[in-house]
């Protein structure tokens, strides 16, 4: 099968996403941004990104005509959003098309997904696609230095107006709100239910330390030095286990806490982003350094 087709200037600009009931919908007219091999003449159904991620899979493997159309529409919606994200990060038209088509193909090849393993909101879905794009950019583009890598704020998944350029002030405001919800409300509430060896204070202390590692350039060794006056292998392992238990407790309890409190979807998405960006462990590879 031929590689993705690049659109030309004569084909006009990328069809923008649309807003419907607060959700991004793409796909009523996407012929100028989609890959030729998935082109069909049928009228495309309007599809949210959540629906698209649940349905997408290689169209050529569809077993019915209806399934084929569903997969094509899902692919088109995902491609359009990836293209928009890449362009928003400053990619040239050609780079954006290359990158969006490759990532869209990879996302399609991983499907069909189980509904429980898919993003549950449009904000989450955009974040999911941004993460996929970033994963590709890091290994394929940064090494080649063809394109700058967006930092975490640039790929902030809850940008309130996807058609416009990202509004940094609004995104930062949402980020602060999410941090308040997480650290001042959710973490203390989850700590109140902590029992056994890992008690309330231990959980809160560990989360505070993890946040400091992210925010204040602290390291586990500086934390050990401050608390115990020395760094030992045993101390490192103990601190790691404390942090590991805190993260596990947070992951297990946060979704339920968020569901109970009926927060706006953008805030929930932002809280997920903060947890991922600030509290998760991460290995820095040579390719990224």
């Amino acid at each position: 099968m031929a590689p993705p087709r690049r659109s030309t200037a004569a084909e006009g600009p990328v069809t923008p996403s649309k807003r419907l009931n607060g959700q991004t919908v793409v796909g009523s007219v996407v012929a100028d941004v989609e890959c030729r091999r998935f082109s069909r003449s049928h009228v495309r159904r309007v599809m949210t990104l959540v629906e698209a991620l649940r349905a997408v899979a290689p169209p050529a493997a569809a077993d019915t005509e209806a399934e084929l159309r569903l997969r094509e529409d899902a692919f088109a919606a995902i491609y359009a959003e990836l293209h928009r994200l890449a362009r928003a990060k400053g990619a040239s038209r050609e780079d954006a098309e290359d990158c969006a088509s490759q990532v869209a193909l990879a996302i399609a090849a991983a499907g069909p997904r189980e509904p429980e393993s898919c993003p549950r909101s449009e904000g989450q879905a955009r974040g999911y696609l941004a993460a996929a794009l970033r994963n590709r950019l890091i290994d394929r583009y940064r090494v080649a230095r063809r394109m700058a890598i967006p930092d975490d704020l640039d790929v902030f998944p809850a940008a309130p107006e996807p058609e416009a350029q990202p509004d940094t002030a609004l995104a930062e405001q949402l980020l602060r709100q999410a941090e308040t919800v997480l650290y001042e409300e959710a973490v203390p509430a989850i700590a109140r239910d902590a029992r056994g060896r890992f008690d309330r204070d231990g959980f809160v202390t560990a989360i505070t330390q993890l946040r400091a590692i992210h925010k204040d350039n602290q390291t586990p060794d500086t934390i050990l030095l401050a608390s115990e006056g020395q760094v030992t292998s045993t101390g490192r392992n103990r601190l790691y286990k404390q942090h590991e238990r805190a993260r596990t407790r947070l992951l297990a309890n946060l979704p339920g806490w968020l569901d109970e409190h009926h927060l706006p979807p953008t805030v929930v998405t932002a809280v997920h982003f903060v947890v991922t960006a600030q509290l998760s462990s991460r290995v820095t590879s040579e390719a990224e350094s």
């Binding site: 091999r37 290689p58 393993s117 549950r120 989450q124 292998s233």
Partner: protein, 323 residues
Amino acid sequence: MSVQDFRDRLARIGLDDGALGVAETLSFPAATVDEARAPVREAPSSDDFGAPRGTVRELPLAVRSDVLGAIGLVATLDRAVGCLSFHAPADLPFTLDPPVAGEAFTTDEPADFLIATADAEPLAFGSISGSGLRLQGLHAWPAPPLADWRDAAGDAEWGILAGADEPTVSASRWTATLIAGRIARLLQPLDAPSLVAARTWSRTLSAGQRGLVERFATVAARQLTIRLERLQATIVPDEPGLVDRWRALCHDRDDLEGIRVLLREARTGGAVAAALREADAVGRALHFSWPSNADVHDERLQRVAEGDPGAWWAGTRRRAFVL
């Protein structure tokens, strides 16, 4: 039923010798070994197992079998009464052919039998002799046409997706099926005909054969959960071999994702998806706290990261997207 009889039976339903999996022979413990092992003894007052009140009698021994483990069965050997019995969780039912009362054999009498699913799809062939139990696993579905796909994919792609398993491909139908799952998701270019062919291959299997594939995958997913929980309980950042251990878990999880996709393309696979959700809850927590000094990355895992940023098994260089 001899092995040859069974081969003939497989041939009649269109399966070749490749469906025969690993064979193992488990010797019944002799008395001297029995004493050395010092099996657990029940309280003298109990007579639940038929021993006279006041006597001491050993409890049934658990049979350690890779073949049984792969199909979700356990067996116990009660030497006091010479009884070998088979058990399985309620959601993994099985039958014996020929039927045996209580799914229990007398070890004093030779027997050949087939372990099958509730739908009579064969899982393993067994025989009891005076010296012990012989079991041979079965993967009773047609082989995916890997040779065709390999030619189309080229050596480089084949090396990434099947290289490590190359020596065992011809020996194991299960391994061949796992490779089909990798090709169905990770073969590049991502619109290669072989990727589509692997997905449509799963639809050529009968419902019973897909049920067999799902059973093996479901059992493997539950075993993966146990391995992940074990690692979570014992992990320390400077543990030797941690990188290799995690890489193996990631690859095994990815293999099961391939099976899930193959089954999903055939509109089935709910059981394995449910089992994988349990494994993923543990895997995600482990990945979230992964030691920053243990770098696990390779080309295959990079491909996983690009297609599914929520996949915890996509190496350690990316933050898995928290869903």
